[in-house]
Amino acid sequence: MLTPPDVALAPLLPILLVLAGAVSSTVLGFHLPRRTLTAINLVLLLLSAAAMALLWSGPGELPATAFGGSLRADNAAVLLGLTIVAGSMMALLVSLDTAYRARLSFPEFDAMLMYAVTGTLLIAFSGDLIVMLIGLEVMSLASYVLATLQDSRRAEESGLKYFLLGSVGSAVLIYGLALVYGATGSLSYGGIAAATAGLTPGNLGLLVGGALLLLAGFGFKVALAPFHQWTPDVYSGAPTTVSLFLSTVVKVAAFAGMLRVFGGALQNAPFWASALQLLIAATLIVGNAASLFQTNFKRMLAYSAVAHTGFLAMALLGTPGLGGAALGYYLLVYTLMTGAALAIVAALQRTEAGMNISDLRGLYHRHPGYAVALAACLASLAGLPPFAGFFGKYLAFQAAFQNGYVWLSILAVLASVAALVYYLRPAMLLFMPDRTPAREYPHGQRPATNLTVALGVAAITVLGLLPNLWYGWLADPAIWELLAGR
């Protein structure tokens, strides 16, 4: 019996809007100045967010799907999608001010960024492994180009590294995907989840092999140690605006994919959790220890992004209901605080290499607003109340701890004590008396960057004091228990 093709445009609309931005940037780039294109893209991102908000399904409603469940616009997708849109808008806003200085001010930048966002949204909305993979590749290819776009040797080197290592990561991931398909005979998350229950030993071997190779591939995308090697090189080599995009949106999307695959499809599959636990432990140690002695602020933020990957991934070890909500909350907070911190770097740096930590000395006396905002971001990254970073960490630790990962939680706690040192050092320098001549770019304070920073800092403060503004939407465990669909 043939069913009519299941094509629904409403669940696809948020993605199509972003794609429209990408295509229009590609086509109109010949005729319009880039700033106009960026404005169009910002509007389209807002519309996409609105379209997502409309897709919110209340209690009892079935989430909208399309293409036979290949595309799932469930609440998890909406929440992760909104986080992605928030990060993308931050990157675009910052690029309005800095792209010209970074010699990125051409339409391809916008086009590539919007293509990448299309890919990230596809991951968040994916209902089967193929869609997820396509999204992942769209995102990755676009990010490789983004990292290389700037006409500089640093950017080229970082982009090439990213590309070569990334393609190995993708290859591993695809191999794992093929094995998972081989073991379960299904590509859709729901099908895989259903098939994992009753597997013959032969198929179980394949499934475990596939799951671990998938984990290795995703480990590369989210920068879990020892697959994190590219992160500091790429983040510090790429233009800061691109680093902002890579460290927020791309990471959120990769985590969304992990959540779909491991929290949804493979949630009952054995053994991946113990391997993930080891990777997280390595990430926590490497990320935090290597951050301690960095001299370059941008590179330190890159390592801090690695460390945060460890904290974020702990949420994946929780039960889906608790862990998903924790990850959802932490991802938004992480996006906001990292985005705001990198926006400040982008505004103040003299070259795209970022600035040295020692150059931050006395920033308070030169740019009081930025100094206070940066201090707030650093405090939030360190996980200090009353900023939102605290709740993110709290929820992630709680998720892992309640699911029995006691030693990992203890390690994470010790790692966060060590993390205090490298976040506090720049924060203290900011308010030191000002004896050295200013080493930052003097004309960096521009309205769009200021708006981004102000919104980011306001959001992490408000979400720290009233976490329920966001967590209230995430808290329903049913959202995260049905990641794979029924």
């Binding site: 869609v131 040797r153 290592l165 073991a183 071997g205």
Partner: protein, 774 residues
């Protein structure tokens, strides 16, 4: 209560704004911020009888997190204490701070601390308790580091913060465990019996103790308190003697009702507390800096309080609460006195000072009262609480009493040492002309000293205050004990003994000092702390040196080895099952040979062009394989893709230098061979393991419905545009992007012309300048 907690936060914002405008007068605003806390006094005085009020503000209901404040007697008592000392410290600092101080910053930090501390003692919610606890650590860090131009201040601030952050996170873990075991995050609604039964009980207990010991500077975490004395003196008086450091004591007092039933609880706290008492007072005796002396004295007094609350019986709680009040009064007064001395003479070194009683008569009187109370002499409050302490320890056994006497004798001796600066010939550093401090400094100190006196002369006042906490801390049926004269009791005899030993210590001060120098242990908490931080530093720099900025091949090695390890783990945990292969069709063999030849050929090729062409072999080999399996359309696609890939490669190669063999050490070479071999073997085995149909084949479905449903005779086309049209859309996207990438490759500069190194801003500028020149 909610207002009492949040009013200081509001006023902190106001103070930050008013600071530059009002200057030092911001202090009066700060003092006003503690008014709502002082307004809790009527509630307090109603206390042991009245039911505790509970004020709940919803905060994060989904996490069972509320801002609940519960005014039981003990919490209110401590809140009022914070209010009183906070007000006094604010007023004192008005006269104390130098004109160049940033008043806005100082007072807003102070008020942020005040609010957090009030929240800490009043909150009924465990998670909020942690939040306030951590905020006191942060504000303490800010206040210690206030004069951050001094490296000692920075070091002290960081040390204090790290130690208390460790404790804070331990508290977070403890709180999480308690909430899990007790079934509630509300302190008053906990199911204590269930908690005692649960497996979380012992870990939660130990973590709570870690938190309390770090915050209250118990051995071996006492290291942070003396260096925290870099803070301005009013801060030291407020945070580091009267309130914040007592947070650990408060925690032990409150949680003693949960954990007290366990032998582990008193078994750990009492020895640690007593050891801290003796060791702290021994170190205090050896200080020459007045403030350091007071710091170690605080450490030792906190040990005393800890050991009393740790007993977890009514007697201990009662005695501890009395002493808590006494200590707050005399210690804050002494800090204020030291502040005055520092203010007037410019130094705090005991050897440089002498005979100050003539120049500073009022200060002298205050110091005398306060230090007599600290030494435990009648008729002051300290005497009464010491008697109680002895009596409590006597009930525990003679050994406990002996330790208590030793600690108190040392306390007696250092109290005397503190007073030495007032006797003898007048001495002060050159240039300083000490004269009596302004009223703003002396009045707060005098008020506290008179309180200490009142607690002694009129024990009823102390009794009434202590009694307010009786219901909260469960010592209602105990009391009526506060008197100066109990008759000749064992406790009194012990006190006399204490005086004798103390007097001997004072008399033979030189011998004691010589002994002290010889007894200095080589390893102490500080050396351990620095060794630990040093180890982390060394590890970190080693890690950076070894892993940062690795060349690409090494990064690849690590990545592949890790992926191989994970695959190996998978095979180990879930062994593969190999279905029989059967007989492979012979026609495939040449194709396989082609594929293998391609892979090996790349390795052997010298030039880049050869490598590309040989890589092509694998691609065309795959196409051939598709042909052999009768999939001509796939073969065609593969051929096209392969052709495009080769062209792209050739385009890109225009810009690359010639092939160079990277130098490889023998070890790397062996490693590469190993990884490559393992990857090959592993991949082959996995392929062999998956050589069977796991599910019914899907092709019949498509064969049937392509025409019926899709109306197309070419099944592949129908699959592409109909059945999996959505995937095709994605693929089109990929192709579009590849096209853009190709375009940018083509448009990149022409080969041969060196491109400008773009990060060279100088070069760019020179270029521009050259162009502008006519």
């Amino acid at each position: 209560m909610t207002l009492a907690v949040f009013f200081p936060f509001l006023m902190a914002a106001l103070a930050a704004w008013l600071g530059p405008r009002l200057g030092r007068r911001t202090g009066y605003v700060a003092a006003a911020a503690f008014l709502p806390a002082l307004l809790l006094i009527p509630d307090l005085l109603r206390m042991p009888g009245a039911t505790p009020a509970l004020e709940v503000t919803r905060w994060v209901p989904t996490l069972d997190l509320d801002l609940a404040f519960r005014g039981d007697g003990f919490s209110l008592l401590f809140a009022v204490l914070i209010g009183v000392i906070g007000t006094l410290a604010s007023l004192y600092s008005v006269a104390y701070l130098s004109d160049r101080e940033r008043f806005g910053r100082f007072y807003s930090y102070l008020l942020l601390f005040g609010g957090s501390m009030l929240g800490l003692v009043l909150t009924d919610n465990l998670v909020a308790l942690f939040g306030f606890w951590e905020m006191t650590s942060v504000t303490s860090f800010l206040l210690i580091g206030l004069w951050h131009t001094r490296s000692a201040a920075r070091d002290g601030a960081v040390k204090a913060f790290l130690v208390s952050a460790l404790g804070g996170l331990a508290l977070l873990a403890a709180v999480a465990l308690i909430a899990l075991g007790g079934g509630s995050t509300s302190l008053s609604a906990l199911d204590v019996a269930a908690l005692r039964e649960s497996a979380y009980f012992a870990p939660a207990l130990l973590l709570t103790l870690l938190a309390a010991f770090t915050k209250s500077a118990q051995l071996p975490f006492h290291l942070w308190l003396p260096t925290a004395m870099e803070a301005p003196t009013p801060v030291s008086a407020f945070l580091h003697s009267a309130t914040m450091v007592k947070a650990g004591v408060v925690l032990v007092a409150k949680f003693g009702l949960l954990f007290g039933s366990s032998a582990l609880w008193s078994g750990i706290i009492v020895p640690v507390g007593l050891a801290t008492l003796v060791w702290g007072s021994w170190l205090a005796l050896r200080q020459t800096d007045l403030k350091a002396l007071l710091a170690y004295s605080t450490v030792s007094q906190l040990g005393l309080l800890m050991s009393l609350y740790g007993l977890a019986d009514a007697e201990g709680r009662f005695a501890a609460t009395v002493h808590l009040l006494n200590h707050a009064a005399f210690k804050a007064a002494l800090f204020f006195v030291v502040g005055i001395i520092d203010h007037e003479t410019g130094t705090r070194e005991i050897p440089l000072l002498g005979g100050l009683r003539r120049a500073l008569p009022v200060t002298f009187a205050v110091a005398l009262l306060a230090s007599l109370s600290m030494a435990g002499l009648p008729p002051l409050g300290g005497f009464i609480s010491k008697e109680l302490f002895y009596e409590t320890m006597l009930h525990q056994g003679p050994l406990f009493l002996a330790v208590a006497v030793a600690g108190s004798a040392l306390t007696f001796a250092y109290s005397f040492r503190l007073m030495r600066v007032f006797w003898g010939s007048p001495r002060a550093p050159a240039g300083a002309t000490p004269h009596e401090a302004p009223l703003g400094l002396t009045v707060p100190a005098a008020g506290l000293a008179l309180t200490a006196l009142a607690f002694g002369l009129l024990p009823g006042t102390a009794e009434t205050l202590t009694r307010t906490a009786s219901a909260a801390l469960n010592f209602a049926d105990y009391g009526g004990y506060l008197k100066l004269w109990h008759g000749v009791t064992p406790a009194l005899l012990a006190t006399v003994l204490t005086w004798l030993i103390g007097a001997a210590l004072v008399w033979r001060a030189a011998t004691v000092e010589a002994l002290g120098r010889r007894l200095t242990p080589r390893v102490n908490a500080n050396t351990v702390y620095y060794a630990l931080t040093q180890t982390v530093n060394v590890f970190s720099s080693w890690l950076i040196a070894r892993t940062q900025g690795l060349p690409l091949p090494d990064q690849l090695r690590i990545m592949l080895a890790a992926a191989a390890l994970m695959a190996g783990y998978a095979v180990w945990r879930a062994p593969q099952v190999f279905p029989p292969i059967g007989t492979p069709p012979l026609g495939v063999l040449p194709v396989a040979a082609l594929l293998v030849a391609g892979a090996v050929g790349v390795l052997l090729s010298r030039g880049r062009l050869t490598a590309v062409i040989v890589t092509g072999l694998t691609g065309f080999g795959s196409a051939a394989a598709f042909l052999a399996f009768r999939a001509p359309d796939l073969a065609l696609t593969q051929l096209l893709v392969e052709a495009v890939t080769v062209i792209l490669f050739l385009l890109a190669f225009r810009y690359l230098p010639g092939v160079r063999d990277l130098p490889r050490t023998r070890g790397r070479y062996a490693f590469d061979v190993l990884v490559a071999g393992l990857a090959g073997v592993g991949a082959t085995l996995l392929v062999l393991a998956s050589l069977r149909f796991q599910a019914p084949p899907i092709s019949p479905y498509y064969l049937e419905y392509s025409y019926k449903g899709g109306g197309g005779k070419n099944v592949v086309n129908v699959i592409l545009v109909d059945f999996r049209g959505f995937d095709t859309l994605g693929e089109v996207l990929v192709v579009g992007m590849v096209a853009l990438a190709v375009l940018s490759l083509v448009r990149l500069g022409k080969p041969g012309r060196p491109r400008r190194a773009p990060d060279d801003a100088a070069e760019l500028a020179a270029d521009l300048a050259a162009r502008r020149r006519p």
